[in-house]
């Protein structure tokens, strides 16, 4: 049995293993960052860290929804990255039996661009297990950092030509 955080988007329930979730917080808006992908709602401060927020509706190609009192961000951790997911609501933590995970049917996997990696039937409920790596995207489009104000110069090696 593994603990999972359950959140909902447009009436569908999704789950993430609890060990990938740092915390859940209420959401009152993010600071817009110009020039980023449309599914990135902006940045928020969580525990002193500046964290990007992915609007999961936009990421999943669902119609946008207004903010409500239920709107939450699920702050996830994947490797060294901390990224928050904006969801319609998130209030449950459930024990799920990993044995009962079923691979996502091909049609679901295709329609969801691979964001759903398994489904889990829990009584009458159907939970979709999401693929966090896929949602966050690879840390690939690494463009030249703006080192002027970046304090952590030691870690940065500016890309050199040649």
């Amino acid at each position: 049995m593994t603990l999972h955080v359950v959140f909902s988007l447009a009436g569908t329930e999704y789950a993430l293993p609890v060990d990938t979730v740092l915390q859940m917080e209420t959401f009152s808006g993010a600071t817009h960052v110009p020039g980023v992908p449309a599914y990135v709602a902006g940045i928020v401060t969580v525990r002193g860290l500046v964290v990007p927020v992915i609007d999961l509706r936009a990421r999943f190609g669902l119609p946008p929804a207004d903010m409500t009192l239920d709107t939450r961000i699920v702050v996830t951790e994947s490797g060294s990255r901390v990224v928050a997911l904006r969801v319609d609501s998130a209030r449950e933590v459930l024990q799920l039996d990993l044995e009962k995970h079923q691979p996502a049917p091909a049609v679901v996997s295709e329609r969801s661009s691979g964001f759903v990696r398994a489904v889990h039937a829990l009584g009458p409920r159907l939970l979709l297990l999401v693929d966090l790596q896929k949602i966050l995207g690879e840390n690939s489009h690494d463009h030249e950092p703006l080192a002027r104000l970046d304090d952590d110069g030691s870690k940065r090696r500016p890309a050199l030509p040649g």
């Binding site: 020039g35 928020v44 525990r47 500046v50 990224v83 690939s140 030249e144 104000l149 030691s154």
Partner: protein, 685 residues
């Protein structure tokens, strides 16, 4: 350099050094107290305290801060006498001395703010004087007697007599100058004030004593003033300066030949603890091969390095452009790699210079705890574990008020009264423990623990009007609610301090750290803070554009100008999607102006565009039109690292106080990123 600038530098150096010696004085006084509580005397600490106060006095005299000289002199005098007689310092003497140090501290910080130092209160001086008297009585040494009317001699405080003898020992002559005011003299511009003023330019005035005299033509008011002075000037020079005749002057020096030269000053009970005054003044600076530097100078160095880094990126871009055109850049690339490494090393070196030991952050805590114990009638043992960690001066400065608050809360709210503690089976003396350790190369963990009553979740929840939290994180959230009043448990000492929300704001929002709470009812509370060892702080302008707030570092901004829409020249927009460019005329120079809102594709209904921020890229000015400027402040910059939100022109994020991130813009880099698509560089200058 102008004289004013010299003086400013001098005052700055004075402040630094005075603060250091004040810290020593506090620490040593507490050490004396601790030793004495254990039944031992601590002559070494007495001497250290003496030396600090002596140096403070000397420094203050050099910059002409008489109020501090007056306080420090009394304390110094007392300590020297006391050291001579030995024994234990009475408890009230330690109190009085700490009080004196505090009074000096207040004046030093007033000077730091650019205010004047207030004259010390009579009570304080009287209190310190009475110490001096007590010690003087215990000194067996027979002082030579000044050649002065006994009635007047009686009016001199012991420290003044001492000051005279020390002056004589140092080679000055002791004189008394008598002045009787009269209408005739007033007409000639001679009043007690003018005499005093003139005299002070050629002599050190020890004391001015008014006295009643029989009415005579010389003193028609029946009043005269006796000014007791020390001087190295000749009688003639002195009298000429003041405008009096020789009848006004009389030596009060005891007829002891041995006293006139400093060489034979051993006739005086000269303390063995003092070095020659001059030597001592510079002692602190030279002893340990340490240089004291104003933080702003380090900031300048860092600023210089920042522009080096920017130049390097420009260079890298230019090299990349060459490589794209098929030029062989291998050799340049190798040089660039060396250069990058050197810049990193230089940066690390500057960062290291800014680091201060964490023990420096904690050295004032014992004094704080001592004061709190008295105010709250608690008995508290303080344990400090500073370790050898170092952190950036600016972090240390921000952290100090947080520690003060947590310690104050611990002593005031958490530790029970001695009676109550005994009833609960605890030791009478409460414990407050502070530990510091570097968790990694980048973070410091600091804990403040008490063994007091713990925080009552239900009580806090009632106050906050919220449901009772069922764990420590929930409790911390409640405590950090802005404006939460726990008045019922707050007292005068803690009630006026900043609330937990400020602690959280500083630790979490400003410093980008973490705050944790572990509290067990009846057992005690621990606050754990994890903060970065360094932060990057810049002075920045904040402004608004398309209803969003941004900041831009002041160092990047060339100028901020008003935009007069009627005087803008519009450049025909091409349809490649690049932002439209206007031309702004600045002192006859055409400056390309871009709407920041366009660059950022921000939609806005109303566009004010009242201001333009001008930056320089490769020597050419570029203006960004924004809606309005909001202000200027120091901001802490957090990196925005995740690939999802890395964007050209975004250098990081900061918190302007609303708990939300505000983007820090690098307008220079932003303008660079635009030149590919627009024709900015083609715009005629």
């Amino acid at each position: 350099m102008t004289a004013t600038a010299d003086l400013k530098e001098f005052i700055a150096a004075f402040l630094l050094e005075a603060e250091e010696h004040l810290t020593v004085a506090n620490t040593q006084l507490l050490a004396i107290e601790t030793s004495q509580r254990g039944g031992e005397t601590n002559p070494r600490a007495v001497r250290e305290t003496f030396r600090s106060l002596h140096t403070i006095k000397g420094l203050s005299a050099m910059v002409g801060v008489e109020p501090i000289v007056a306080i420090a002199h009394r304390m110094e005098t007392f300590l020297r006498d006391f050291d001579r007689s030995g024994g234990a310092l009475p408890a009230d003497a330690i109190d009085a001395l700490l009080e004196g140090v505090r009074a000096i501290e207040q004046r030093v910080s007033a000077l730091g703010r650019g205010d004047g130092a207030a004259a010390p209160s009579d009570e304080l001086l009287a209190m310190l004087d009475s110490l001096g008297l007590a010690a003087a009585r215990s000194v067996p040494a027979a002082l030579p007697v000044l050649d002065l009317d006994p009635a007047m001699l009686k009016k001199l405080a012991p420290f003044e007599v001492d000051q005279i003898f020390r002056g004589i020992a140092a080679g000055a002559r002791a004189l008394c100058v008598e002045f009787s005011p009269s209408p005739a003299r007033a007409n000639a511009g001679l009043s007690i004030n003018s005499v005093r003023e003139r005299l002070s330019t050629v002599a050190e005035i020890v004391r001015v004593l008014p006295r009643a005299v029989p009415v005579n033509p010389q003193a028609p008011g029946g009043l005269s003033f006796v000014l007791i002075v020390l001087t190295r000037a000749s009688d003639q020079a002195l009298l000429t300066r003041v405008g009096l005749d020789s009848s006004a002057l009389r030596s009060i020096q005891p007829e002891l030949p041995g006293l006139v030269t400093p060489v034979e000053a051993s006739v005086l009970p000269e303390p063995d603890i003092g070095l020659a005054p001059d030597e001592e003044l510079f002692d602190g600076q030279t002893r340990r091969g340490v240089v004291r530097v104003d933080v702003s100078r380090l900031d300048d160095a860092m600023e210089g390095l920042s522009s080096l880094i920017v130049t390097r990126f420009r260079l890298a871009r230019a090299v990349a452009a060459l490589a794209e055109r098929g030029v062989n850049t291998r050799e340049i690339a190798e040089i660039m790699a060396d250069n990058a490494r050197q810049l990193r090393d230089l940066r690390a070196a500057i960062v290291r210079v800014r680091m201060v030991p964490v023990s420096e952050l904690l050295e004032r805590v014992p004094l704080l705890v001592r004061g709190l114990q008295r105010a709250t009638n608690r008995s508290v043992r303080l344990e400090l574990e500073g370790g050898s960690a170092e952190l950036d001066k600016s972090v240390s400065e921000r952290l100090f008020p947080v520690i003060v608050h947590l310690v104050r809360n611990a002593v005031d709210h958490a530790i029970e009264s001695p009676d109550e503690r005994v009833r609960r089976g605890k030791s009478e003396e409460g414990l407050v423990r502070i530990t510091c350790s570097a968790r990694s190369n980048t973070r410091l963990e600091l804990t403040v623990t008490d063994d007091g009553r713990g925080i009552d979740r239900a009580a806090v929840a009632r106050k906050a009007g919220r449901p009772s939290p069922d764990d420590n994180p929930g409790l911390l959230d409640l405590l950090c609610i802005p404006g939460l009043s726990t008045r019922e448990i707050a007292t005068t000492t803690s009630g006026r301090g900043m609330g937990m929300e400020i602690v959280k704001r500083t630790v979490v929002d400003e410093l980008g750290g973490e705050l944790e709470l572990h509290s067990e009812l009846g057992k005690g509370t621990t606050f754990t803070l994890r903060v970065p060892l360094t932060i990057s702080i810049v002075d920045a302008f904040s402004f608004e554009c398309a209803e969003q707030r941004f900041v831009v570092p002041v160092g990047m901004v060339d100028e901020i100008v008003e935009v007069d829409a009627s005087r803008l020249v519009q450049i025909p927009a091409n349809d490649d999607g690049s932002p439209p460019v206007d031309i702004l005329s600045r002192r006859g120079v055409a400056v390309p102006m871009i709407q920041l809102a366009h660059v950022f594709h921000m939609k806005t209904e109303k566009r004010a565009n009242s201001k333009a921020i001008i930056v320089r890229r490769a020597g050419l000015p570029v203006a960004f039109a924004v809606d309005r400027m909001l202000g200027q402040q120091e901001v802490v910059i957090r990196p925005v690292n995740d690939a999802l939100v890395r964007a050209p022109g975004v250098a990081g994020a900061t918190d302007l106080g609303d708990g939300r991130p505000t983007l820090v813009l690098d307008l220079v880099a932003l303008s660079a990123s635009l030149t590919g698509s627009s024709k900015l560089l083609g715009v005629p200058r």
